[in-house]
């Protein structure tokens, strides 16, 4: 069965023509493709939202991974916010800390909802639960946030990639951040076109991001990349809502991301052979965690 949209242009055009939200187009497509009632589709997303809530909650209490490489930073960020001295502002830091919370839970082998992947699972919920305090959405609007993010992710997954091994971190955290930006715009009352601008602006600024996990773990730099992805999406959403547009159309940005991923050496695509994983400290940590020859002086 043919989907209702193949790219962002078709998605936005359909939403505008039918005077519907992007989330609605995604819901309608899901009903059509899977032949399930609306209620069931909404319920499944509701369950995913609950998993996200629980992961953030758990992370904010403080979790630590088995390797000891990550954990506890979400707590530090929340405490810092409470001090009232933060420079970047509460909403941004809240998004960052909740993105970190989710990914710390992921690194600790906790239960998360992949959005679009586990390594990038922090950005969409992190931003959602931060803007929630500002926009006071209904439960349905929160569920719709996930459908809007999903609609854009659907385009990326089918036209490019959402896998770090295939396309680098730009495909994972880059896609997650861009998806979140588009969803924030819809929740804040922006137009479908503005969602697309926010997506393009975010994605453009995540292009080229390599996947270089230290010791092959989804920890360093993944957790902090989720933090920066969340920050990126909040700023891009604000830019789009202010009327700023992307000179390069959304679908062309996605194609560029794909092309960049294709030409990226495999050492920088989740093999833990290049980038931060190949630094003296990165190798030292790997040897410390998994045994083997300790190379370099380390920390």
């Amino acid at each position: 069965m043919e989907p209702l949209f193949h790219n962002v242009r078709e998605l936005v055009e359909r939403a505008e023509k039918e005077n519907k939200l992007i989330s609605e187009i995604m819901i309608e497509q899901e009903i059509m493709i899977t032949d399930r009632p609306r209620e069931e589709v909404m319920k499944q997303m509701d369950r995913n939202l609950t998993v996200m809530e629980e992961a953030v909650e758990k992370g904010l209490k403080g979790v630590h991974s088995v390797s000891g490489l990550t954990g506890g930073d979400a707590v530090l960020l929340q405490k810092y916010m409470e001090s009232g001295n933060s420079l970047s502002g509460d909403l941004l830091l809240d998004a960052v800390s909740k993105a970190v919370a989710t990914n710390e839970v992921n690194a600790a082998m906790g239960t998360i909802c992949a959005t679009p992947t586990a390594g990038s699972a922090g950005v969409v919920p992190g931003t959602l639960f931060a803007v929630q305090n500002k926009l006071n959405p209904t439960r349905e609007q929160m569920i719709r946030y996930l459908f809007t993010a999903g609609a854009f992710g659907f385009v990326v997954a089918n036209n490019a990639s959402i896998s770090g091994a295939a396309g680098g971190c730009q495909a994972e955290v880059g896609s997650a951040a861009a998806m979140a930006a588009a969803a924030i715009v819809e929740m804040a009352g922006g137009t479908p076109q503005q969602s697309s601008e926010a997506f393009a602006i975010t994605m453009k600024n995540m292009l080229g991001l390599v996947c270089d996990p230290v010791a092959g773990l989804v920890e360093v730099p993944c957790v902090k990349r989720n933090a920066m992805g969340a920050a990126n999406s909040v700023v891009a959403a604000d830019m789009a809502l202010a009327g700023v547009t992307s000179r390069i159309p959304c679908d062309e940005v996605i194609s560029a991301m794909y092309e960049i991923g294709q030409s990226m050496p495999s050492a920088l695509r989740e093999t833990a052979k290049g980038g931060l994983a190949a630094t003296p400290t990165g190798k030292w940590l790997e040897a410390k965690i998994f045994g083997g020859a300790v190379v370099g002086s380390g920390q």
Binding site: T117, A165, L217, V218
Partner: protein
């Protein structure tokens, strides 16, 4: 379109840390177990590409073993699957390979028990989605997300029509179908993705058709 559902993007709910290396790996293991039809006694798991490089860090190993024990991606027992495998008496071995494969996240699982042996190649294509690309040497494309029937048969005319007719009789709609054979006139394999789960009654009737060697199914 490789990704059909929004829940391929927002989901799956899973045990961390990696959708392609943990959740996808668990699904490859589980499909292997499904196709084998029972708990295997042993498994040799060959890992390629990024799977081979990073499987310990991503818990790909515990996830595949979890899948072989029939655990879903969100089953917390994945974390202790090695101990659980010991309890049910399944031996396993991981073999990181250096050879070239088409997809960076590839696993070949050879498993069996006293009665049978099976070999399966699976790839994890991102976000927890997988494809089975080879079964006992037959190339195929199977997502593992729809109910599917696999029919091993002799390469004779009428076989496919008989199977299709039988499914039609029970009002089972075919979503995707592939036929492959190793050599003309010899053993062949039909892979049929269907819209709903197939009852045992239908399976039995398919198995009784002429020139059919084996019929297995993957439930949704």
């Amino acid at each position: 379109m490789k990704f059909k559902s929004v829940f391929d993007i927002i989901g799956p709910v899973m045990i961390g840390p990696s959708s392609s290396h943990t959740a996808g790996a668990a699904r490859i293991g589980r499909v292997a177990r499904d196709l084998f039809g029972r708990q295997p006694k042993w498994a040799k798991i060959h890992l390629y590409g990024s799977f081979a490089e990073t499987y310990k860090g991503h818990s790909t190993d515990v996830a595949i073993v979890g899948g072989l024990l029939d655990y879903d991606t969100f089953d917390e027992r994945i974390k202790t699957s090695f101990e659980e495998a010991q309890k049910v008496g399944m031996e396993f071995e991981f073999i990181p390979e250096t050879g070239h494969v088409e997809h960076p996240n590839t696993a070949r699982i050879v498993l069996g028990d006293d009665q049978a042996e099976m070999s399966l190649m699976g790839i994890s294509i991102g976000g927890g989605k997988i494809e089975i690309t080879e079964l006992n040497g037959f190339p195929l494309r199977l997502s593992g997300e729809h109910p599917a029937i696999l029919v091993v048969h002799d390469d004779r005319s009428g076989c496919i029509a008989n199977v299709a007719n039988c499914l039609y009789k029970y009002d089972i709609n075919i979503g995707h179908m592939e036929v492959s054979r190793k050599e003309k006139g010899r053993m062949a394999l039909m892979v049929i993705e269907v819209d709903q789960n197939v009852d045992k009654e239908v399976m039995d009737e398919l198995a009784e058709l002429p020139n059919i060697t084996q019929v297995t199914r993957i439930a949704d």
